[in-house]
């Protein structure tokens, strides 16, 4: 029985262009206050548009509001309910963070303000760097990367620069078959060949295999800890030792930090570089696809290679402490993006850290791990655990083996979960688990919501046995059903038709 959701009338709405009518207006700017000159006298007509911007709509303000409000009601969101998405850490996005990010002193500040007029911003960057260094147990942090993938790229470039400075950048990067796709993609950008290494039956790094595979051509091992199967890499120190002994460095994908904050620190494990996903662990909103931020944290030896500029402390001629941006970083890998990073996201993350404090951060980790284990405990009677004797941390992974016997697969379970009022869990990732069903509740879910989720999953398992067609045809209660994605890719229509 579906308890969490019910069908409800939702508004239809076409494309914004369909609302457009000549003469409608949705704005008013102040009148021009300088004497006007004919544009053609200021800029040669051959450089000017001659299409009168025919492709943009003309719509009134209330219609724009209605249009986007209607669209928004077709979305699921954290504020509506749980996202059990493994590896995504869909936690509550505090509105206090939103309020703080909008303080005009931050929001309206220009990136090229002279340092003396941007002391607040520089202080904020400094404090966030220090906080993240403490949380990760690392020596230095760069807040410049715009997302996790960019952090990976920057981190690997730092590794490459360090090894280059030692004499040999080496040739390849070892990446477990369970890794997120951004890992090998990022390695490729850094000019490294990717060698995939197999995980053992626990989904962990196979130590013996690693020992055989490592040689002096290996620049780095990229690993995720906890692994993409939600399990702590128990041999992490040994893994790091093996890589270090061969002269390589260890990169950790920090996407799963929500299981570690306040409990343990990558820096203590032997990791050399890691990235963090502020839009996961540190609560900044996903916004339907970003922006996020992917800061990297490094050990002391790697600090000189971090992107420039760096925030440094100086004493001015009055003997007062001042922060400055230092661009003179001869060993730096360079810049990974203009200006200083996704600053408005960074503000939110620092606000989150200050709101939780050390106790809150630890409590969040404990609550997240507890929630995941609670789900594991209650669902293992209905779904096969991918790693039966594993010790799940903040996420738990099942497969669809039992359900497949009735012709029901992970995709079907996911789509049926929608009818129950939830967003689907992560499907088919990591690739090493057949039919992976990965569930990460985060600490933001209360027992009530989790019990509803467990209920829903149990009910779907029963439906798979007794009425598989119902599951395979899901979702039934949404505005649209499963879309023909293959046809969409064969003949892509990637924009609205131009007005003739």
């Amino acid at each position: 029985m579906i308890k969490k959701a019910t069908t409800h009338i939702s508004q239809n709405e076409g494309l914004i262009f369909e609302r457009s009518r000549e003469g409608k207006t949705g704005y008013r700017i102040s009148a021009l206050d300088v004497p006007a000159t004919k544009t053609e006298e200021l800029i040669d007509p051959s450089l000017l548009r001659d299409d009168d911007l025919a492709g943009l709509p003309e719509v009134s303000e209330p219609e724009v509001v209605r249009h986007f409000t209607r669209l928004s009601t077709w979305n699921y969101a954290i504020d509506l309910g749980m996202y059990p998405l493994g590896s995504c850490t869909m936690k509550y996005n505090p509105r206090l963070n939103e309020r703080v990010a909008r303080i005009p002193g931050f929001a309206a500040s220009h990136p090229y303000l002279p340092d003396e007029f941007a002391q607040g911003n520089l202080e904020l960057l400094r404090e966030l760097e220090d906080n993240l260094a403490e949380i990760t147990g690392m020596a230095a942090v760069s807040l410049q990367p715009a997302a996790g993938a960019q952090g990976e790229m920057a981190g690997l470039m730092v590794i490459r620069a360090c090894l280059g400075a030692r004499g040999n950048p080496r040739k390849r990067v070892l990446i477990p078959d369970s890794a997120h796709g951004t890992n090998p993609a990022s390695a490729a950008i850094c000019g490294y060949a990717v060698q995939t290494i197999k995980s053992n039956a626990q989904g962990a790094i196979d130590i013996e295999n690693l020992r055989q595979v490592v040689d002096e051509d290996v620049a780095a091992l990229m690993l995720t800890n906890p692994s993409t199967l939600g399990l702590f890499e128990e041999n992490i120190e040994e893994v790091c030792r093996i890589i270090h002994d061969a002269g390589g460095l260890v990169y950790m994908d920090g996407a799963n930090m929500n299981a570690l904050v306040g409990v343990t620190r990558p820096g203590d494990m032997g990791v050399d570089v890691l990235h963090l996903n502020l839009h996961k662990t540190f609560s900044t909103p996903h916004g339907g696809g970003g922006p996020g931020a992917g800061p990297i944290a490094v050990v002391k030896e790697l600090e000189p290679f971090l992107p420039f500029p760096r925030v440094v402390e100086k004493t001015d001629d009055k003997g007062e402490r001042r922060l400055e941006l230092d661009y003179n970083r001869p060993q730096s890998i360079g810049r990974v993006r203009a200006f200083f990073g996704n600053y408005s996201v960074l503000v939110r993350a620092l606000c989150y850290i200050k709101t939780l404090g050390p106790d809150g951060l630890r409590e969040a980790t404990e609550a997240a791990v507890l929630n995941a284990n609670y789900i594991a405990h209650h669902l293992k009677s209905d779904y096969d655990l991918a790693i039966p004797d594993g010790k799940p941390m903040h996420e738990v992974i099942f497969n669809d083996k039992r359900q497949s016997r009735h012709g029901v697969h992970t995709l079907d379970v996911a789509k049926r979960l929608i009818d129950y009022g939830f967003h689907p869990m992560t499907m088919y990732f990591p690739l090493v688990v057949n039919g992976a069903i990965m569930i990460e509740p985060t600490e933001s879910e209360g027992r009530e919501e989790i019990d509803l989720f467990i209920d829903a999953m149990k009910s779907i398992a029963q439906e798979a046995r007794e009425n598989p067609e119902l599951v395979k045809g899901a979702p039934h209660n949404t505005r649209i059903g499963r879309l023909d994605e293959a046809a969409a890719a064969r003949k892509p229509v990637l924009r609205a038709k131009a007005a003739s």
């Binding site: 309206a108 607040g120 403490e134 997302a147």
Partner: protein
């Protein structure tokens, strides 16, 4: 902790329900010696009002346009931001929603992206736009990587008047990709590129990367540059850090561009100390399978109902892994939505009116300044809303004196071009008032006359 629904007591009950003694048991997978014995050394949790006080006092140490007149541009622009943009993107279903991988419950996000893609195509004159990249600088880097993929060539030609930070980002991205670069000089008089400078563009060049309006504010002659690039078999990449210019300038797609990329921050996104912003990226139809980033396409369900879905995903990292067109995953979704709302509100007429005001105000300012003794407009090329002024004294000195009058006079170009000691890059937008411009001009006059005040 108020963000955690399960109280300590509830958590005890859950542990008991599971037959688990204590929470420590759930962390047994972590070697004991790796587990922290005490709390992290961070400041203790602040209350909501303490947090606000803390951040307000930090913010108070920054200077913003509302307090002082500012003539800063150079890749981040002060434009008016209509109120309802924030209203709409603050809706929980946009703000707190995930990437639209499950289209049945993400049609709001998907349709909005489809509209964004359409608008970017209209503005740039191109056929296909992606759902956003991080920003203009990384969009430029991605354009370079794409041109290399498409042509199979390994050299790129970069305009000398490209935004220096954009160039630095390109340098970082190509460093390990076996791609070399050459610089195309700009004309010292016009500040723009002369097609003649491209006469010996080799047939090993994958792309000519130019910026328009360029870093000095000048408008490039795109068609002539396109012709020169195509002669050499190279693609023309046009970079547009000031998207507002597309409201009045001819679409690069109509002038032969193969890739148009840039920065949509001018469309309703605050300057926010340099980020988060919204990189846009648009190409000709024939390159649609080589474009980086997410794409939203139209699709139909079993009942023939139309919807939208992420498509052509085989280009992307989660499928192709190391062979992907880019490593990008999370991009700038919410900010692309801000741009979409902005473009919907301003629309056809509004964007032209705002762009027009930028032109008028900037030219008014330039004219006033050029009429002052001691100051000259450095370059002769037509411009949109930015121009370079040669000052009678080093620009840094001028800026110091302007600052005393609460005016942030622009960017000293010596910051990037050491020999341009006396040059100042000045930006005037529709948010700059006549009074601010007059006061600026007046102060410049007094500085040159060395009047003490």
């Amino acid at each position: 902790m108020r963000y955690i629904p399960n109280s300590a007591h509830e958590r005890e009950l859950m542990l008991r329900d599971m037959g688990v003694e204590s929470i420590d048991y759930l962390f047994r997978g972590i070697p004991a010696h790796l587990q922290l014995k005490g709390p992290l050394k961070l400041t203790p949790a602040l209350s909501e009002s303490e947090t606000l006080d803390y951040f307000h006092s930090l913010a108070a140490r920054n200077v913003i346009h509302a307090q002082e007149a500012s003539f800063l541009g150079a890749g981040a622009y002060d434009h008016f931001i209509p109120t309802v943009i924030d209203t709409l993107i603050s809706r929980a279903e946009f703000l707190t929603s995930y990437t639209p991988y499950q289209p049945e419950i993400s049609q709001g996000t998907l349709q909005a992206i489809f509209e964004y893609q359409t608008m970017i195509c209209e503005l740039t004159g191109m056929d296909v736009s992606n759902a956003s990249l991080y920003d203009g600088s990384t969009a430029t880097a991605e354009a370079v990587l794409m041109a290399v993929r498409v042509t199979g060539r390994s050299k790129i030609a970069l305009a000398a008047n490209l935004h220096p930070e954009y160039r630095e980002v390109v340098d970082t991205y190509i460093h390990h990709a076996g791609i070399t670069e050459q610089t195309i000089p700009s004309d010292p008089v016009t500040g723009t590129l002369k097609p003649e400078a491209l006469a010996d563009l080799g047939n090993d060049v994958a792309a000519l990367v130019i910026q328009s309006p360029n870093f000095f504010g000048g408008i490039e002659s795109l068609q002539a540059l396109a012709d020169a690039a195509h002669e050499a078999g190279a693609l023309l990449v046009v970079v547009v850090p000031e998207a507002m210019s597309l409201g009045i300038l001819k679409a690069p797609g109509q002038c032969g561009a193969d890739i148009v990329c840039g920065e949509a921050q001018s469309f309703g996104i605050p300057t926010s100390f340099g980020g988060a912003y919204c990189g846009f990226f648009a190409v000709r139809e024939k390159y649609q399978r080589q474009i980086p980033g997410r794409l939203v396409g139209q699709a139909f369900d079993g009942e023939g109902r139309k919807g939208y879905v992420l498509t052509l995903a085989t280009r992307e990292q989660h499928i192709r892994r190391e062979k992907a067109t880019s490593n990008i995953c999370t991009n700038q979704g919410l900010y692309a939505l801000m741009a979409t709302v902005y473009l919907s509100l301003l629309g056809r007429k509004g964007l032209q009116e705002v762009a027009e005001q930028n032109v008028q105000k900037a030219h008014y300012a330039a004219k006033q300044i050029a009429a002052l003794g001691g100051y000259k407009l450095r370059f002769t090329a037509p411009f949109f809303n930015e121009f370079v002024v040669t000052c009678p004294k080093p620009a840094r000195e001028i800026l110091d004196r302007l600052a005393r009058q609460k005016i942030i006079g622009g960017l000293p170009l010596a910051r990037f071009f050491p020999r341009m000691e006396n040059e100042l890059l000045v930006c005037v937008t529709e948010t700059t008032t006549r009074q601010e411009v007059d006061s600026f001009t007046d102060t410049l006059k007094r500085i040159s006359e060395d009047t003490e005040f």
